[in-house]
Every structure is written in structure tokens, then in C-alpha cells.
């Protein structure tokens, strides 16, 4: 049964979301009120009954280490299997962004000495609820060498800017990787399944290559001599690669349909939970169309917003279409519209902050405005 090794490859570009990634990778950005982005990939692993997961981090992994807690919240703190974090070894080309091939290659012996036949590789910032067992089933059915995962979106869809897509032939085989900008409606979810042995061969093959090689390029170089099957995923998908996407997709959660799409009984999303009391709504609180985590205290008015734990809204404050991360405070008389407050920040009395849907104001971690 447990013949799949899970690999979470945190090779995610942060250039359009740097306001939230000064101190953290994309994987540990808070999302959906009580989660971190990484929770979804980890939950997909454990819900797919994969109990050995290797996570390859980039820099700034401290907040991730803090969140992961030896994998306990995902039941991945195990004697034999479980979660293994591989942090990058010293970067000898300090200014060069190393490719994921090179980073994974540093730990090749770990991949070599596991016993799982298959390997699944996925990122963290493609938030979805995918069952990797179904991917494996199709992979075997199609006798593929490699399976890649995509989602078909409407041509008019504004989302998934900067995502790569894949070209597919009439037999459902992936024939090419199409880089960003040339938009296409088969969004590539940066997810691969193959035999572990093939994965090792691919890493070894490039051992003399440049150190910034990307795994996905290596895979698609094989398009002419390997069977690359394209698996279509049909569920909830967002890609958090910019502030705009983060903001927009977070507010999208304020619809029952979207919530039901992302959270269902059969596919629990696990996360590290802090002990917070239930959220308190005071006498004059007005709360409309909001998602709130525990430990908040609401005295003012809040509309169309997402609150993480321990958010304090004082009386006469007004918050509309905002994302307030943990332990943030909005004081009396302050007015907030289209803003993101990062952890531990505070908006002082009578401050007015108004952003727009496409360009929300971002208050950095710990700032007092």
C-alpha cells in the first residue's frame, strides 16, 4: 500500500509576494483563517495514505520548522516513516538562485535508500485537494513513465497568471511545457509521479549540468522518448504566487461553494493548532460575511473579511474586505478597506487605510501604524 514517497518541493518564486515573505517562505504564509499554505500539500499526502514525506526547503525555513513540529499535526511524527525536512546545504554561489535539481541532489542518498517504488513531487503553493492514489491508478492504467498533473481552466480566467501550462495531445499525453505569459488553459500544477528509480536517474543524469536546472525542464526534455501522461485534476485549485492572487483567493473563500469545495469531511485539512478560546462577539459587534478563527474578540464592525486567530477589533472600528493575520489589532475609530495585516501588527486609533482589490495595502509583520 505505502509504495509512494511524497516529496514537497518548495521551489517557489517569491518576487510578486515579497511583502509577505520577508521572514517566511510562501509555504508558511497563513491562509484561510487557520492554516498555512503548506498544510494543504501535507494533508493531501496523509489523506492519500502517504506516510513518508520529504520536504525540500529553500532559505528562510525557520517559520516552517516552527510550524511543522516534527510532523505531529499530520500524524507524521513516526518511528520509521514520517516527515523529513531537508534544508539547503550551504549555498556556495551566494547570489545565484540554485535550481531544485541541485538542492535535491544534495540529499540524493536519502532518496536512494528508501524502499518506496514510486515518488510523487508537488509544490506547496498550488492549493488543492488531490488524491495521489488516483494519480497513481491512472499512471498504471496508462502505463506511463511519468505522470504530470494539470487543471483545465476557462480561457477567460484571470487567475493563474505566471503559471506554466502543458500542451496535451488527443491521447491525453503531455507533449510540451509552455512557460508563463503564453497563457494556455491547461494549468500545470508542478506535480509529477514516476518510479523512484527514474527520479534518481534524472537527478544523476544532470550531475554535470548547470546548478540552476529545474526539475520540470529535465522532465519535459524527455517528451520524445518517455510516455508522459497528463492527469486532469478537477477540484479546487488556486496558485498563491502574488499578493494579488493571495488577496483575491483568500476573499473568494467567503462563498459557501468555495468553502465546501476546499473543506469536506472526507478530506480533512490538518494544521498545527494553538489553544485559543472560542471567538467572542461583543454587544455591539457587527459581523457580516466573514471567516474567523478562534480567540478573536470583535467589538466593532467587520464585513467580507478573513480573520486568523486572536484578532482584536475595538469598538467603532470598521474593517471591510481585509485579511487580518494572527494577533492583529484594529483600534477605535480606525477604518480599513482592502488591506492585509501581517502577524502582530496594529492599526492605531482613527487611522484610515484604504487599498483596492487589485492593490491591497499590506502592513508588515509587527508594524504599528
Amino acid at each position: 500500500m505505502n509504495n509512494i514517497l511524497g516529496v514537497i518541493n518548495l521551489n517557489e518564486k517569491e518576487d510578486k509576494i515579497h511583502e509577505l515573505t520577508y521572514n517566511r517562505p510562501i509555504a508558511s504564509i497563513p491562509f484561510a483563517g487557520r492554516y498555512r499554505i503548506i498544510d494543504f500539500a501535507l494533508s493531501n499526502m496523509v489523506n492519500s495514505k502517504i506516510d513518508k514525506v520529504f520536504m525540500f526547503t529553500r532559505n528562510k525555513y525557520r517559520s516552517l520548522v516552527d510550524h511543522i513540529e516534527h510532523g505531529r499535526p499530520w500524524d507524521l511524527d513516526r518511528k520509521n516513516e514520517g516527515l523529513f525536512m531537508f534544508n539547503p546545504l550551504i549555498n556556495y554561489y551566494s547570489n545565484v538562485r540554485r535550481g531544485d535539481m541541485d538542492i535535491i541532489r544534495d540529499y540524493l542518498d536519502y532518496i536512494f535508500y528508501t524502499k518506496e517504488e514510486y515518488i510523487i513531487i508537488c509544490p506547496s503553493n498550488m492549493i488543492c485537494t488531490i488524491n495521489f492514489r488516483d494519480v497513481l491508478k491512472k499512471h498504471l492504467e496508462k502505463k506511463a513513465d511519468i505522470t504530470v498533473v494539470y487543471k483545465n481552466i476557462k480561457e477567460s480566467d484571470e487567475m493563474f497568471e505566471d503559471c506554466d501550462s502543458i500542451a496535451i495531445d488527443e491521447d491525453g499525453m503531455a507533449i510540451d511545457l509552455i512557460r508563463k505569459k503564453k497563457r494556455h488553459n491547461n494549468v500545470f500544477m508542478e506535480t509529477f509521479l514516476m518510479k523512484r528509480k527514474l527520479f534518481i536517474d534524472l537527478l544523476n543524469k544532470k550531475i554535470l549540468g548547470a546548478d540552476h536546472d529545474l526539475f520540470k525542464d529535465t522532465v519535459f526534455e524527455l517528451k520524445n522518448n518517455k510516455n508522459i501522461y497528463a492527469y486532469e485534476y478537477k477540484g479546487y485549485l488556486v496558485c498563491i504566487n502574488s499578493i494579488k492572487e493571495y488577496f483575491g483567493r483568500s476573499l473568494d473563500l467567503l462563498s459557501e461553494d468555495t468553502m465546501n469545495n476546499l473543506f469536506h469531511q472526507t478530506w480533512p485539512i490538518f494544521t498545527k493548532v494553538k489553544d485559543e478560546p472560542p471567538t467572542k462577539y461583543q454587544k455591539n459587534a457587527v459581523v457580516e460575511n466573514c471567516l474567523l478563527a478562534g480567540g478573536c474578540c470583535i467589538e466593532g464592525e467587520v464585513y467580507d473579511s478573513v480573520f486568523f486567530r486572536r484578532v482584536n477589533i475595538h469598538d467603532t472600528a470598521s474593517v471591510k474586505s481585509c485579511i487580518l493575520m494572527q494577533n492583529t489589532t484594529v483600534e477605535q475609530g480606525a477604518v480599513l478597506e482592502y488591506a492585509i495585516l501581517d502577524k502582530n501588527s496594529r492599526v492605531s486609533k482613527n487611522m484610515v487605510l484604504k487599498g483596492t482589490m487589485d492593490n491591497p495595502i499590506v502592513i508588515e509583520k509587527g508594524q504599528v501604524i
Binding site: R34, K274, P277
Partner: protein, 382 residues
């Protein structure tokens, strides 16, 4: 390895007066304050007081409680040395029997206590709601060179006859103990929190066991016997919120107390957190047409109606047009469209269909809908 303090939580009592809500649940396992179970308070007090060896004595309907406590991880009680142990009655060389009283329950676990080898034994109730630093009580006990210390709280004199009352000298030493006196001389009631020197307690428990007419109870038998024999007993005064939630009314009232501004229990206090098994639920959602006033709402709730002065546990769903006031709703209960609920406790996993009417706004009674109850649409239930 010798321990300084071993805590024993008495969690085996039958929940007779809460039986209308759930007959198959030990009292300490009842839901309180939305996401908590009653025993979370005692366990969290232990954790916050740096007591890392805790025995939980269970007997009545222990299954939910046992699986809830598990290895004690949520309270940081999964320790290499010590930690939490569930202690049900067991068969011994000379046969076995149920726990016959609070003192007998501890007496039957003599071997466990000796195994832990503590200097002091802290005896606690698993069904009280309060926040208390036991470390301070232990300091007091040492400072007074006490042999048995009983925590007391001031109660209104007119209610004092419901409690065990301690009559003390100026230095807090106890000279007399009145169990539920008709004419109380004092307003210092025992909270059922006892700290004993184990060597002394052991002796009195053994003697009490031989006395066939004893009811084997700390308040009724052990404390009076110690007093009579001149053991040094002190009353440790406790200030703060304390509630025995043994009845439907007190369970409801304790929940309502949480809604008061500046309530003494203050669950938001970062320095004395109450730990619990956290639910695996998405955040709560409050829709555009809903109204939530002076209430506490937990994870996973979906609110589409009006909620006033109420406490909702994780996963509760409130449909459109529903009006809920002065009510406690437990885990995963579903309240469908246009139902009206006043002054009630709705048990876990209840399914209340459309247009029901539960409870009365002006009643002095609390209406109880038991766990797992299915209510047909349009029912009037009081």
C-alpha cells in the same frame, strides 16, 4: 524517581443530575465553554502549575473521557517520567471492587501512588471550573509546615450550608470542619482541593478502610479523623472564579458567566491558557444575513441566523431565520431554518429541523435537548 507532587483527579462520579443531557458520559467529559470539556480546567491547572504527574481516577462511563485524555499530549502531560495515567478500579490479589467513595478511590490506588513515590498528594475534582495555581498552594503548605491543606473559597453566608465549611484560627489553621452545617459559623467553603503529606494520608486512608461504617469520603471521614487526631490542617484561601457544574442550571449558568464582560474566568488570558483537544475544523463562517451578539462561537460553526447571548461549540450550524438566545449548543448540532430557541442546552449532534420552538424566554427553567436528538420540523419543545 521520587516526585514532589502527584495530582489525583477524581473523575469517576456519576453525572446523575446531568443525565437528562447525556446518560453515557462522565461529568468531567461534558462540554463547556464551547470547545472545552470540564476536565480541561483541572488538567490545564496542573500543566500550568508545573505538575507533570497526574492520575485520573475513572469509574462511571469512562470511554469518552479515556479517549479524550489519551496520553495527555494537549496538556503537555505526555512525559517520559510521570505524565498522565488513567486509573480505573482493578482486580487485586484479594478480589476487586468499585470505588466506594473519594477516599476509597485513592486508597485503592495506593500501589500506584507508592510507585510514583511523591512527597505530597494533591487531590482534585475533575468536575470543577476554575483556574488555580497549585504551586502557590504547595508553597503555602510548606511554609505553614502543614500536613493537610484544604483550599477554601468565600461563599455567600446564606449558601454556606450547601458546602463543607472550615472554621479557622487567625493563622489559617483549621480547628473545626462542618459538613453542610445548618447554622454555618463561617463562609469559608471547601473547594475539594486537598494537599496531603503522603505518609500521613496513607495512614488515615488505611485506618478509614478498616472502619466499616465509614462512607470513605474525604470531607465526611478523612478530614474529621485528621482533625480529631491533631493533624496540622490549614485552609488555603482561594480568590477567583470557581464553579461546581453538577447540575443543568449550573452548567448553563457557568456558560453564561463566560459572556459577561470582564468575567473572572477570562479564557483569553495568555498566561494561564486552558488547553484542550482542538477540533479539526475550518474557521467559523458568519454570513451576510446573520447577526451575532454577545456570544462565543467556535471553529467550524456556520451561522446564517441570529445568535444572542449564547455559547456555540465547534461545528454547530445555524440555518437562515433561526433565532437563538441564552442558549448553549454543543458540538456538531444542526439547527435548521426558522427554528427559535430560548434558554436551552442543546446536546451534541442534535438535529433540530425547521420551524421548531425550543425553550421559553421568560421561564426560570433551562430546557434540555439530549445528545443525538432528532427533532421533527414544527415541534414545540419546552
Amino acid at each position: 524517581m521520587a516526585k514532589e507532587v502527584l495530582a489525583l483527579i477524581l473523575a469517576g462520579g456519576q453525572s446523575t443530575r446531568l443525565g437528562t443531557l447525556n446518560k453515557k458520559l462522565a461529568k468531567p467529559a461534558f462540554t463547556f465553554g464551547g470547545k472545552y470539556r470540564i476536565i480541561d480546567f483541572t488538567l490545564s491547572n496542573c500543566a500550568n502549575s508545573d505538575i507533570n504527574t497526574v492520575g485520573v481516577l475513572t469509574q462511571f462511563e469512562p470511554l469518552v473521557l479515556n479517549s479524550y485524555i489519551g496520553i495527555g499530549r494537549p496538556w503537555d502531560l505526555d512525559r517520559k517520567d510521570g505524565g498522565v495515567n488513567i486509573l480505573p478500579p482493578y482486580l487485586k490479589e484479594k478480589g476487586g471492587e468499585w470505588y466506594k467513595g473519594t477516599a476509597n478511590a485513592v486508597y485503592q490506588n495506593m500501589d500506584y501512588i507508592d510507585m510514583q513515590n511523591p512527597k505530597y498528594v494533591l487531590v482534585l475534582s475533575g468536575d470543577h471550573i476554575y483556574k488555580m495555581d497549585y504551586a502557590k498552594m504547595i508553597d503555602f503548605h510548606k511554609e505553614k509546615e502543614s500536613e493537610a491543606t484544604i483550599t477554601v473559597i468565600k461563599v455567600p453566608l446564606k449558601e454556606a450550608s450547601r458546602f463543607g465549611i472550615m472554621n479557622t484560627r487567625e493563622d489559617n489553621s483549621i480547628y473545626e470542619f462542618d459538613e453542610k452545617p445548618e447554622q454555618p459559623k463561617n463562609d469559608l467553603a471547601s473547594m475539594g482541593v486537598y494537599l496531603f503529606n503522603w505518609e500521613i494520608l496513607k495512614k488515615y486512608l488505611a485506618e478509614d478502610d478498616k472502619n466499616k461504617s465509614s462512607s470513605h469520603d474525604f470531607g465526611k471521614n478523612i478530614i474529621p479523623a485528621m482533625l480529631g487526631a491533631g493533624v496540622k490542617l490549614y485552609a488555603y484561601p482561594f480568590k477567583g472564579y470557581w464553579k461546581d457544574v453538577g447540575t443543568i442550571e449550573s452548567l448553563w449558568q457557568a456558560n453564561m458567566d463566560l459572556l459577561k464582560i470582564d468575567n473572572e474566568l477570562n479564557l483569553f488570558d495568555k498566561d494561564w491558557k486552558i488547553y484542550s483537544v482542538n477540533p479539526l475544523q475550518p474557521p467559523q463562517y458568519v454570513s451576510r444575513e446573520s447577526k451575532v451578539v454577545n456570544s462565543m462561537i467556535s471553529e467550524g460553526c456556520k451561522i446564517f441566523g441570529t445568535v444572542v447571548n449564547s455559547v456555540l461549540s465547534p461545528g454547530v450550524q445555524i440555518g437562515k431565520g433561526v433565532y437563538v438566545s441564552d442558549t448553549v449548543i454543543m458540538r456538531n448540532a444542526i439547527i435548521r431554518e426558522n427554528t427559535i430557541i430560548h434558554r436551552s442546552i442543546i446536546g451534541s449532534r442534535c438535529e433540530i429541523n425547521e420551524e421548531c420552538s425550543i425553550g421559553k424566554e421568560d421561564s426560570s427553567n433551562i430546557t434540555v435537548v439530549p445528545y443525538d436528538y432528532f427533532m421533527e420540523g414544527g415541534t414545540v419543545y419546552e
